[in-house]
Symmetry: C2
Subunit: 349 residues, 2 copies
DNA sequence: TTGTACGCGTTATCAA
DNA sequence: TTGATAACGCGTACAA
């Protein structure tokens, strides 16, 4: 059935030791033997048994990615690119990528440390860190090599890769403020996500920096696909409706568009919109939305690199890598038109 | 470092054999021993070494997913849901999911059969089957358990999961024809993709069925993100521009919208649009697009199920599962307005 | 330069 | 009900 070193050894009339060394390119094998052994290995289509190898050198040669596929809206395109980034680095470095997609409530499944302790993987990239995430402590206690994607507000004693949500949102909101907007709504996700606090903080900072009053009434957190439309509709119905909106996710921004249209609000003339995370749905919207872009692929790639390093040098100091998002100007933002007037629809950028 | 059965055995004063059997819930261990052994295992946070287990029973307990992440537009949301579907079934069945994301040109990396022959995985779900895909033959020759997602036009002797691209497109185009359209453009992807032929065939069949002339001039294949805008612009510039468009991918449809706007064509009044694959960018477009929806998650889940079955019963007959896509009516399609008139913009659905 | 012998952690076989 | 032993396939001291 399976071809093993033994088969090759028999075939070439040498010992398994020599075969093993030849295939691993040790330099204490005669070139002649090496050549023959390799030829035979090729001919027999030999592939080393990964399990045996793992068992021998107690390394799985595999990275684990723990990702909450069903927690977010399942079609959150961000993750695909993140995965792609990790996969690229993995294939380049000759390690495999194991996907552990945790279902929403199903924390019981495989314990994360279990994956490592059972030598299924050598380390983990853990996504979607919540504030005060118990998984972090657990992994630290068990000395599981890991890199977090995202961080909880408090902890700073572990390696992570993250985007600077504070500055990303702050710049986005400042952009709106520079355009003259003062009543800027904040549409946010579940505050339990680690990034939620950062994004909201960025929003507040923008107001602080520019000395504008912060109105808590304009902050809507915990919005979901089902609750967003109603909340947005209500917001627009009010007398003192906002003149601009920051949306923490694509689907929130896309819910704003029809709601605005329904009330006869034209974008960007009557309402400016900025969204966090740039993707096809945001670019293809009408009008294309000004967005806070993250280096999706790079985030995944760096997470993988950091993890590999961490596995190799477990005692190396913690590395924390924060990427700056960039504001991509499109045509959903414009200067506040004076007194709700209808003529100042020029974009200043 | 790692806790093994030996540690447990020492601790409870029994043999490793008994420990192993207790942990695997064999019924020839005294309840008392079982309880003690389990307690100690828990206490020591024991996790069986996956490699050792694999080596012993020559099963990796892992499915491989071979997916072309960078080949398509990287943010093709479809794949994320497909992966989610597979991951769900895997976690439910207690097997792991190994992701092998092949880079565009990099066919050399790990040979697919190698993954199985090296016992890295027990079988493969292979995506993005091309016409006459060499990987299929290779896997068949080496008796690698696999399930394809997609099929090449010819082959029918392997297990696959697929969407009925022919009927999906045919119904979509017939919908347009029923609305009175005759000049319907076809915007397609690289014809080397297995599904391309099916989709184009669906397009042709719609014309055959309804007895309308088929105009090859209206067929544009091999469009990419970079080439699409020009091709579309040119198409609209012509005197005999189409009155409706079928787009084989989200980004193609999203490229149609601004091009139409630029020429003063209003959708759906002057131009109807149908797109293959339903997702957020399509739903959030203005207007929301009539789309051919695929059961993304189900496709992934079924692929995983089929593969598990195939691994367990390698000699069972081939299973080929074709899912019917469904046409989701939205507001990008409307009856052909007579003589380019501007008043008959009612939707008939 | 090559071969012998052992161990990685687990499970299965067989005997007690 | 339990235990000793072998085996899975590989890599590596150590000896030759």
């Amino acid at each position: 059935m399976s071809v093993t070193v033994k088969d090759i050894a028999r075939r070439v009339g040498l010992s398994v030791t020599t075969v093993s060394r030849a295939l691993n390119d040790h330099d204490d094998v005669s070139p002649a033997s090496k050549a023959r052994i390799r030829a035979v290995a090729e001919e027999l289509d030999y592939h080393p048994n990964a399990a045996a190898r793992s068992l021998q050198n107690s390394r799985a040669n595999t990275l684990g990615l723990v990702i909450p596929l069903s927690l977010h809206r399942s079609h959150d395109v961000f993750w695909l690119e993140f995965i792609g980034g990790m996969a690229g680095v993995c294939s380049q470095r000759g390690v495999d990528l194991l996907l552990s997609a945790t279902e929403a409530g199903d924390e019981t499944s495989t314990s994360l440390p279990g994956l490592v302790r059972g030598r299924r993987v050598d380390g983990l990239v853990v996504c979607d860190i919540r504030t005060n995430d118990p998984r972090i402590k657990q992994m630290q206690r068990l000395h599981v090599p890991f890199v977090a994607f995202g961080r909880d507000a408090a902890g700073v004693d572990y390696s992570y890769v993250d985007v600077d949500g504070v500055s990303g949102v702050r710049e986005a909101v400042l952009h709106l403020i520079y355009l003259g907007h003062q009543r800027i709504a904040y549409l946010g996700l579940d505050p339990r996500f680690g990034f939620s606090a950062f994004r909201l903080q960025g929003y507040r900072e923008a107001f602080e920096v520019s000395g504008l009053p912060f109105d808590p009434e304009l902050v809507h957190e915990g919005l979901t696909e089902t609750t967003a439309p109603a909340a947005i509709g209500e917001m627009f119905a009010r007398e003192d409706r906002p003149t601009a909106v920051f949306a923490a996710a694509d689907f929130l921004a896309l819910a704003v568009l029809p709601a605005a249209r329904a009330r006869g609000l034209s974008i960007p003339r009557d309402l400016s919109v900025v969204v966090f995370d740039d993707n096809l749905s945001v670019q293809g919207a009408d009008p294309p939305l000004t967005a806070v872009g993250q280096p999706n692929r790079t985030l995944g790639a760096e997470a993988a690199r950091l993890l590999l390093e961490r596995i190799e040098y477990p005692d190396a100091p913690v590395v924390q890598q924060i990427f700056e998002p960039s504001l991509v100007m499109r045509s959903s933002t414009a200067p506040l038109s004076d007194l709700g007037g209808k003529d100042s629809a020029e974009t200043v950028a």
